[in-house]
């Protein structure tokens, strides 16, 4: 690769390193795995950079995050990082919340803890939509590009994921 081509890649893709790391960190839930995933993803991105030129106008973020995401899922399959989590099932993970209490968001230390635990326990397909939407502010369309599912699926996963987090917080509040 020509040096200026690498320079171009670095200018377009490197600024999203924090976003890439955030996604990888929450998906793998391990510091070192996250770093390995990100490095691996960047090398893949470099390889596919030619392909990205066709979709000029995108800022490179969704494009890179899709690669990070796929790399993380490959790692998960390879190293069984999610061995303790149940296999993802769109139906199984979609029960509605029975009831909700607004005051659940006034977080004490234990509520904070249960929010993190609940997030950890989410299937990665749910966790990633939370990270992409709440932490990184992607639109449904961009989330769809990253995760490779239709916008309708993004919408329902996001809603279900939130309901589960809310339920976890609610249970915490009730248990006080």
């Amino acid at each position: 690769m020509e040096p200026h081509e690498l320079g171009r890649f670095e200018v377009i893709v490197l600024p999203h390193l924090d976003a890439a790391y955030t996604l990888a960190r929450y998906l793998t839930r391990h510091e070192h795995d996250a770093q390995d995933v990100v490095q691996d993803a960047y090398l893949r991105a470099l390889k596919y950079f030619e392909g990205f030129r066709g979709t000029e106008g995108g800022d490179g973020r969704a494009w890179l995050l899709a690669i990070v995401r796929n790399t993380a899922f490959t790692w998960r399959r390879r190293y069984r990082l999610e061995a303790t989590a149940t296999e993802f099932d769109e139906q199984l993970h979609s029960e509605a919340v029975a009831d909700v209490h607004p005051e659940a968001a006034l977080l004490g230390a234990s509520a904070r803890e249960s929010l993190h635990q609940a997030l950890d326990r989410l299937p990665p397909e749910f966790r990633e939509v939370i990270v992409l939407r709440e932490l990184q502010g992607l639109s449904y369309k961009e989330i769809g590009e990253v995760t490779g599912v239709p916008v309708g699926t993004v919408m329902s996963r996001l809603s279900r994921a939130r309901s589960r987090l809310q339920r976890a917080l609610y249970a915490e509040q009730e248990g006080r």
Binding site: P3, P15, D18, T22, V100, E134, S159
Partner: protein, 261 residues
């Protein structure tokens, strides 16, 4: 409409993903339906809780360094790695010497090609330094802070000046890697513009006055003193960059310069 359908719509509403007409209808519905209003408040609070308690993260510096090194290595650029694998170089050197035998004018051609490659590297380093968090490893407008910072990090002690009085304040310094060796990089400011100065001990050779190159909208000045090889790069106008280079050259010739050691 089932409960989860309602939640779905509520989430899309809060995320600003409903078509404007649907959003208006939903807002009207929220005013009338207490159950949905409660759900709405809970969702707003949940969103705030997530954003407050589940932070977006900053990539560790270690990872930043790793990724950059891996990219350079994979791209096969001349600055492939901070520790070039010794083994890999031998066949290359052999190939190079064969090429020398095969093509008589090789030396001449490669010299200008090497200069070309180096200016390319200088530009790449400059552009990379413009990214957040990449400009400086030591941030200081005080030359007496920046200069000692390089101690033990380089095998020479770079000349560091501050031209704040002339409108070119020193911003800081960092280590960089050019032409196969660690170099000092100094960052100076000029209004909204940034100037990167790269320097390292000069190889024995002719002292050269500034040569000027323009690449991708950036100006590059390059000169050699008896002690240092200099590269200066910026998006600043050429006249001002020349003026800046002149300041550096004057400072170099008047200051009691530290020598390479």
């Amino acid at each position: 409409m089932t409960h989860s359908d309602l939640e779905l719509q509520l989430d899309a509403y809060l995320d600003g993903e409903l078509a404007s007409r649907d959003a208006r209808e939903f807002a009207d519905h929220l005013k009338e339906c207490r159950e949905c209003a409660r759900l709405h408040d809970a969702r707003v609070a949940l969103g705030a809780a997530i954003r407050a308690e589940v932070p977006a993260l900053r990539a560790p510096d270690e990872l930043r360094t790793r990724v950059r090194a891996a990219l350079r290595s994979a791209a096969g650029s001349p600055v492939a790695s901070r520790r070039p694998p010794i083994r890999g170089w031998r066949p290359l050197a052999l190939a190079a010497s064969l090429a020398l035998v095969a093509v008589g004018s090789w030396r001449l051609g490669s010299n200008s090609a090497a200069g070309e490659a180096l200016s390319e590297q200088v530009l790449t380093s400059h552009v990379r330094s413009l990214m957040p968090g990449h400009l400086t490893d030591v941030v200081s407008s005080d030359q007496h802070t920046v200069k000692p910072w390089f101690n033990g990090k380089l095998d020479f002690s770079p000349a560091v000046y501050d031209f704040a009085g002339r409108g070119y304040p020193l911003i800081g310094g960092r280590l960089d890697y050019l032409g196969g060796r660690p170099v000092a990089a100094l960052a100076y400011g000029r209004r909204q513009h940034l100037i990167n100065v790269f320097l390292w001990p000069a190889a024995q050779g002719p002292v050269r006055d500034p040569g000027e190159t323009m690449r991708q909208g950036y100006h590059l000045l390059h000169w050699t003193t008896p002690e240092y090889t200099y590269w200066v790069v910026s998006d600043l106008g050429l006249a001002e960059l020349r003026e800046f280079a002149q300041l550096v050259r004057e400072a170099d010739s008047t200051a009691s310069r530290p020598t390479a050691h």
